[in-house]
Amino acid sequence: MHMLLTEARSRATSGAMKRFATLMMAASVAACGGCVQVQAPDKPIEINLNVNIKQEVVLSLKKDADALITDNPELFPK
């Protein structure tokens, strides 16, 4: 009689645990609906560096550039 009671109780406990595990799994699956999914692009990422000249550099070179043009008129036909 005593044994039976213990067995029944343990059976009940394991049943509760199973139900809890199932619930947790369902919850985690549901949570994944809100996950941010990152997908790698199939094309390579292109960064255009053609116009990568710093304005300050251009500014500092302006006088030199003007001198270069006026000193070499044959290179800058009008």
Binding site: N50, V51, I53, K54, Q55, E56, V57, V58, L59, S60, L61, K62, D64, A65, D66, L68, I69, N72, E74, L75, F76, P77, K78
Partner: protein, 132 residues
């Protein structure tokens, strides 16, 4: 033997002189090709600091444009070394200045987008890095 060598030397000197004169005459003739092409809008200044050809051009014109660009590159390289910047920086700065001041109305020019345009009476809208 010495006499023969002298004759050879004279012949070589004469040959070099003729070649040099022909070269000078060619360069002068070719220089006018670029001037004409500039006036016609077949050649123009580019934002990258070099001359460019719009469309197709004769081999002679192409050669003259290339020769000017090679000399420009040499000058840019020298200035870049003096100032501790890249050749591209110098070239682009010269490009800003040529587009701002040296393109007359009716002449062709090219911005970094690669499109050839014809200068109107209004100033050219320069690339952002030219400002300042």
């Amino acid at each position: 033997m010495t006499h023969q060598r002298n004759r050879l030397l004279t012949a070589l000197t004469a040959g070099a002189l003729v070649l040099g004169l022909a070269g000078a005459a060619y360069a002068q003739a070719a220089g006018s090709l670029v001037s004409t092409a500039l006036a016609d809008g077949d050649v123009g200044e580019q934002a990258d600091g070099y001359l460019g050809i719009k469309g197709t051009a004769s081999a002679a014109l192409r050669g003259e444009v290339d020769a000017i660009n090679i000399k420009r590159r040499a000058a840019y390289t020298q200035l870049a070394a003096q100032r501790g910047v890249t050749v591209k920086d110098v070239a682009a700065t010269v490009g800003c200045q040529t587009l701002a001041t040296r393109v007359a109305a009716g002449r062709a020019y090219q911005l970094p987008d690669g499109v050839w345009r014809v200068k109107s009476a209004a100033p050219i809208t320069l690339p952002a890095y030219c400002a300042g």
